[in-house]
Symmetry: C2
Subunit: 205 residues, 2 copies
């Protein structure tokens, strides 16, 4: 019962933050939507900022798990490993699309919380991506592209459909909350890995 009300609060908060913005949402709104007493929110999260922090941390803990799960396959080759990370991550973002849209939007703002998240999680993510890309170059699977610029492209491809969900729905008529989308889109990102990152000789041999 307790766990349910905590989950209901988070669920309501994410939905409201996403549509009305963080500053446009009050504890009262969240309590009403979650059908709980406002005192419950203080009990679990202290205040609205505590709730925001909880959303970020819970999102990025899972996000990093997906990356680490994929990274565990590094011995099967850099190409395989990067595709595994991509598949894990796209499924996770798709399954949590409201939270994902909100988090990625907030991550573009310069705030104390965002700086902390970047220095904890994004620095760790960079470490793993760099390792995979370096290994791919060493083993002659990948071209000698700039690693930094490859990370920019790869992350751009990962983030785009789950941040710009309205654009995908309203303009392109594609539904990024459906697993079908995540699976089809993963193959597009694999194509980027095969065609842009991979050396042709590596594919032929």
């Amino acid at each position: 019962m307790k766990k349910n009300s905590k989950e209901a609060i988070v669920h309501a908060a994410v939905s409201l933050f996403n549509t009305k913005g963080y500053s446009g949402t009050s504890i009262r709104d969240i309590a009403a939507k979650a059908k709980v007493n406002p005192a419950n929110i203080s009990y679990y999260f202290q205040n609205k900022h505590g709730l925001l922090e909880y959303c970020f941390t819970s999102f990025f803990e899972q996000y990093m798990d997906k990356i680490e799960e994929g990274y565990a396959c590094i011995d099967r080759g850099a190409t395989f490993c990067l595709k595994k990370i991509t598949a894990n991550l796209l499924n996770f973002l798709c399954d949590n699309i409201q939270l994902t849209t909100f988090i990625f939007r907030e991550m573009s703002i310069d705030s104390q919380l965002v700086r902390e998240i970047m220095s904890t999680y994004y620095t760790k993510e960079k470490f793993y991506l760099q390792r995979v890309l370096e290994k791919g170059i060493e083993q002659r699977e990948f071209h000698r592209h700039s690693i930094t610029y490859m990370i920019v492209q790869l992350k751009g491809l990962w983030i785009m459909p789950f941040l710009n969900t309205n654009y995908l729905r309203e303009v392109l008529y594609v539904f990024p909350n459906e697993r079908f989308f995540a699976e089809k889109y993963a193959h597009d990102v694999y194509k980027w890995i095969d065609e842009v990152l991979c050396r042709k000789e590596a594919l032929i041999s």
Copy 2:
């Protein structure tokens, strides 16, 4: 003198919207930063929402100009044309980085204004991109990929560095406000065009 104060208001508004958010910024803040009388803001833009609309419209009018300028080269081939659009657009986004970050962030929110912008500008953009991609496929320059999914990837690559400026600066140590970056990054997007979109036979012949 008058033109200067209008520009100063817009400049101050963009900077404040970007750091404090739209709802966290008051007309008073903007007037103070722009060193003008608050009545001046009402005179030019009526209210804060009018100022927001002005920012969006002025951004997207220029954005569409860049796309149309590039599209005018369609007779020189789809590959050439898409690279031209990319170069034009990346330079524009780089030169207006604060406005770009703010606009792309806001475009991920579901609001009346965003819906209007999408149905005016993004629909037009889709029309041009679709035309270029179709022409590339017809002329056997491009693979028969799904046009919709190619637009998702291409726009992901265009938007990423100018939305996630903090990430680029703080984690990757890359500075997306510098022309040097826009030019180097354009070559990465060209690589995507050459390797993912273009048929190999087309490149060889």
